[in-house]
Symmetry: C2
């Protein structure tokens, strides 16, 4: 399919993607939008104009400043809204009078370059899993050499509760955190010397489950509204000193960045694959009747400093031992309620080689082996990193998601 | 002080306490109330009647169905509102025409027995610390004998992020969770056989801090709206199998119960004491200029089954190695934002003897030594527990907080 908005069809935001976000401009208050080419389609304007009146739902949910109410409606309504938007945007649309040639909706296409993007959903709880198996193996080999994976690792999606208050939108600057850590044989408080990133993929929950009930692995995919890229910023010195016995806390909770555009599952069907890395003898609550899906989406990681723009890693969302359906089934197995807007992340998506890992911890073996960064093609410069320096801008990119960027500021 | 509402002055809800909650009745929608004697003072009615018009704030925050907006206003306004309520309720009030003898406010006192109580605040993030030092020592001796406290334990408040979606109000039934655990040499999925409780004390945050900033230990107490009792229900078999390396997850996230009444710091001044259990050489960010406070409040723990009503433990909020001010300073040291309505709990408040611990894990040494429960004075029955049985009702009580109760249901 092609769209009259981006005729060359060479945009990451093609008519086949149509991700949802929340934007504002100098003149417009925060509202829901859909990315198409170099534009954002203003859902508030379309709703006011009755564009969705033939669909059986309260279209005023599209006039709000978060996607929560819309997400909670269920996948049938969302698919109808998506089909309606595709109908209006298609090159060969037979509905040109409703949008393309309609003077009353001519302000509905807002230039992306003039918009500010905001957190797309009000996030209740944020959960971070650890299902990237190469990452788990790397961490084990670096931090606990000779011990191997924990014995529980392959039989359940291991995860922890993250901090929802510090989830921020791409381009939010990240201050180098202060904290307590152990250095030169004594505990100290100061600026973290091991600020790192983690490349992750995450799902927003559409509708949840009641307290005391669970979601079966077969039903779980229907509870996903869409996907974003996620950077789980980490301060390794703080994290390693605090984590026994209750896991990461201040080493992670200073910031988590997400990409601005939520890509719906419908747009990612062709990237779906059967899980290949998991055990055959999973317990039944994780197996289900149909195989839960895993995605095969490359994520490019780059780093900019004052001198250059460097390729760092190429990760992939497929390097996981459990699918989102399995994570959701496990998360709710004991009766824990998920709610609309909850965010569930994979953990770091490292691949098998050093250039495919998803953190500097892994690439530099916890700072002991500086990792060489090669400049983008147009430049000649090379540099190295063990951990991030003040001023570094870290960028994750996958087509359709927008960029998941953040710069480390001095503190 | 005494009040004309409860002349005998023998209620836990005396005029010196005046905790805040949210209630409804068959006729009244959910709204803010203040407990006094056997009644709840309806803040919505008082606000409508202009009772607070002499105080410089938007009194409509008292007409909402959570306390968040009111809590966020700052302690000066809250102290004025509290003083005004005390003025109206005092036995020797010179303002009887405004409440006691005012026909337009006669419905402002609602019988507590006719009210349902609700979660008093919309909780953004819930953090559970581990600052009960006797509990930490007991866990260490039971689960990792011979190893002792983790080396980080005395130098920082260790904590983890809990699950806010499963925080429920007292009397909400708790289904025995299912989950994955290791039994008889193999992993299995089924009903937890080690359901336990943990006696904790928790603070609600009044106003928070911006992303990337911190709250100093000297300023931290001003960010506390008030306190509740908290039961951190735990499934020990699920917890022990999942916790390495990222800490508790499904072993805790199925339910956390809080008492219904939020007791303001003003009511607890006489229970405040200097911390006695902490190290002298704390890092400066945890020391501050004035000593952070710790509370000395006994919490009675009882258990009811079909046969009897048993005394179980007597815990105390003083058995902690860090104060709430220190927990808040540590939590925000790296820039993690707290928000109005966030909940921060101490962890289990065990004392030094077996009858003062705050969990069955400790009392039964992880199920190996059944713990004897003696009946309340009016009964003769005795029984034992290793962990909780279906039907058991666990009750925590401290005057002014109401009860923090929950019954384990079969699943």
């Amino acid at each position: 399919m092609a769209s009259w908005v981006c005729p060359g069809n060479n945009s990451e935001f093609s008519i086949d993607v149509l991700p949802y976000g929340v934007f504002s401009t100098d003149k417009l208050d925060a509202r829901i939008g859909v990315a198409i080419g170099e534009y954002i389609l203003d859902m508030k304007v379309l709703s006011y104009e009755g564009i969705f009146s033939a669909i059986d739902f309260d279209a005023s949910v599209l006039e709000q400043n978060t996607l929560n109410a819309f997400a909670s409606l269920g996948s049938k309504v969302r698919q109808q809204v998506r089909a309606r938007i595709q109908q209006l945007l298609a090159t060969n649309t037979s509905h040109a009078d409703e949008l393309r040639d309609n003077p009353r909706t001519e302000e509905a296409l807002v230039k992306m370059s003039e918009a500010s993007l905001h957190l797309p959903m009000a996030i209740g709880d944020y959960t971070d899993f650890f299902v990237g198996i190469h990452h788990a193996r790397n961490c084990s080999s670096i931090l606990r050499p000779g011990v191997g994976l924990h014995p529980n690792y392959l039989s359940q999606p291991i995860g922890y509760h993250g901090r929802s208050s510090s989830v921020v939108i791409s381009k939010t600057p990240i201050r180098r955190p202060k904290g307590q850590f152990f250095r030169d044989g004594e505990r100290t408080f100061g600026l973290s010397q091991k600020v790192d990133f983690e490349v992750e993929f995450a799902a927003f929950i559409s509708h949840g489950n009641e307290f005391g009930t669970s979601i079966s692995v077969d039903d779980a995919e229907d509870h996903i509204f869409g996907f974003v890229l996620l950077n789980d910023w980490s301060a390794r010195d703080i994290q390693s000193w605090e984590s026994a016995p209750l896991g990461p806390f201040n080493g992670k909770n200073f910031a988590t960045t997400i990409s601005p555009w939520i890509v719906p599952p419908e747009a990612l069907k062709s990237f779906c694959q059967y899980p290949s890395l998991q055990e055959d003898d999973l317990l039944p609550y994780l197996r289900g009747k149909r195989q839960a899906s895993v995605y095969d989406i490359p994520i490019q990681v780059s780093l900019k400093d004052q001198v250059g723009d460097y390729r760092v890693f190429e990760c992939n969302t497929k390097h996981v031992v459990f699918s989102f359906a399995q994570m959701i089934a496990h998360h709710t197995a004991g009766g824990c309620p998920l709610r609309t807007g909850d965010l569930i992340a994979t953990g770091t998506l490292s691949g098998p080689s050093r250039h495919e890992v998803g953190s500097l911890l892994e690439a530099s073996r916890n700072g002991s082996e500086p990792y060489e960064l090669s400049a983008e093609e147009t430049e000649k410069h090379e540099t190295t990193r063990t951990f991030l320096l003040d001023g570094d801008i870290v960028c994750f990119r996958a087509p359709g998601f927008g960029s998941c960027d953040g710069q480390i500021l001095s503190n």
